[in-house]
Symmetry: C2
Subunit: 210 residues, 2 copies
DNA sequence: ACCTGAACACCGTTCAAGT
DNA sequence: ACCTGAACACCGTTCAAGT
């Protein structure tokens, strides 16, 4: 059982070494995510994350200024993944109106599939202002929506409004659906409809106006 | 300075006594709310709340099973106040369509005016399922919206859909706007529009469909 | 019935010391 | 450069003891 530190230069054991030489950062964000998934956002602690990564409780402070910065790093990863999911959803159709609908669906689908990420990204323990990379990553995801809307405008739809003025209520809508679905509040008030179906219906109706 | 316990039966000092004989519950929820307002949701601790109420750290456990139950009591108060705000907003107009708009505006206005309450009501540290009174109080607030929608349907609008199917996207929209406004995310992506104005615009457009 | 004091396990953070 | 060990202040929770 004590083979862990044997022949530290061999390729077979390199994984354990790597874990402690440069990848602790990733090991900690992975552990944080797993903890949120298992025990909810309040079930995550820096100590437990360190324990799972196999290091002392002080080790994380070589990589993150404090607990909030670790959470911010997790949130940033989340926004990057969300951006990728939105890009994929957007490129699946060429009709600009259908693209907007697919983006909205993709947003809710990703959020509901990754409640751990989503709760860290929008939870009250994560403060975006103190982590510039996080702001950039979230802006990139928002830009996906913005692009889809300008795509519609270039074809004469939704004219007379700034793209941001259209994106704002739409983002609010999908964020609201995602949040209430993840927290279980939709179920609590007797709404059984699938969140993604609800999104499709709401956005399709919405687009009849523009 | 040591006048606090002087003449404990006098009416002048009764306030201090009352604080410790039956009103500790309210004193604790008040302190919790003040802490969330001052230091954010993660800045609240049971110990600090007890300290502010002038009791030992163990005293709260005579009134709440644990920290989560205290938070749930705060959230319940919040939903009761929100319900009152919605009732007032709804009764201010008689036209059913305008009433729906006023409800939506009232929702966002109340949320933005009481971010401390709102964050506890929808924060991840509050679990509704384990506190029946909280579920009842939130259902009552949701019913205000439902009533306004059935009011429209009785006049022939939005027919063919269950009231809940219309309420779901509308609640999602106002909750999304309120959440993103409180967290500052709307500002982060360059949206400067007043949340209440945004709500009016979005809901008014929405109602053109039904 | 309601509150205190003391205790326990746990957490975030710091810092000197190790390799 | 990166990690450990020990320390400190703080928190949630329990329980015996006080009034």
């Amino acid at each position: 059982m004590q083979t862990q530190r044997r022949r530290s230069t061999s390729s077979a054991d390199k994984r354990r070494d790597t874990y402690h030489h440069g990848d602790l950062k990733r090991a900690l964000t992975d552990a944080a995510l797993a903890l949120v998934r298992e025990k909810g956002p309040k079930g995550f602690s820096l100590s437990e994350a360190a324990r799972r990564a196999g290091v002392s409780v002080a080790a994380p402070y070589r990589h993150f200024a404090d607990k909030a910065q670790l959470l911010a790093a997790v949130a940033e990863q989340g926004f990057i993944q969300l951006h990728e999911a939105l890009s994929a959803a957007g490129h699946s159709v060429s009709d600009p109106k259908k693209r907007v609908i697919e983006l909205a669906r993709g947003y809710v689908r990703w959020a509901v599939a990754h409640p751990d990420y989503y709760q860290v990204m929008f939870g009250t323990e994560t403060i975006k202002a103190e982590h510039p990379g996080l702001l950039v990553a979230s802006a990139r995801a928002f830009d996906d929506l913005l692009d889809a809307i300008t795509g519609c405008q270039e074809l004469g739809m939704m004219r007379g409004l700034d793209a941001r003025e259209i994106a704002a209520p739409m983002w609010s809508l999908v964020h609201g659906i995602a949040s209430l679905a993840i927290s279980g509040d939709l179920h609590h008030v007797g709404i059984q409809e699938d969140p993604e179906a609800l999104t499709t219906r709401a956005v399709a109706d919405w687009l009849k106006i523009g």
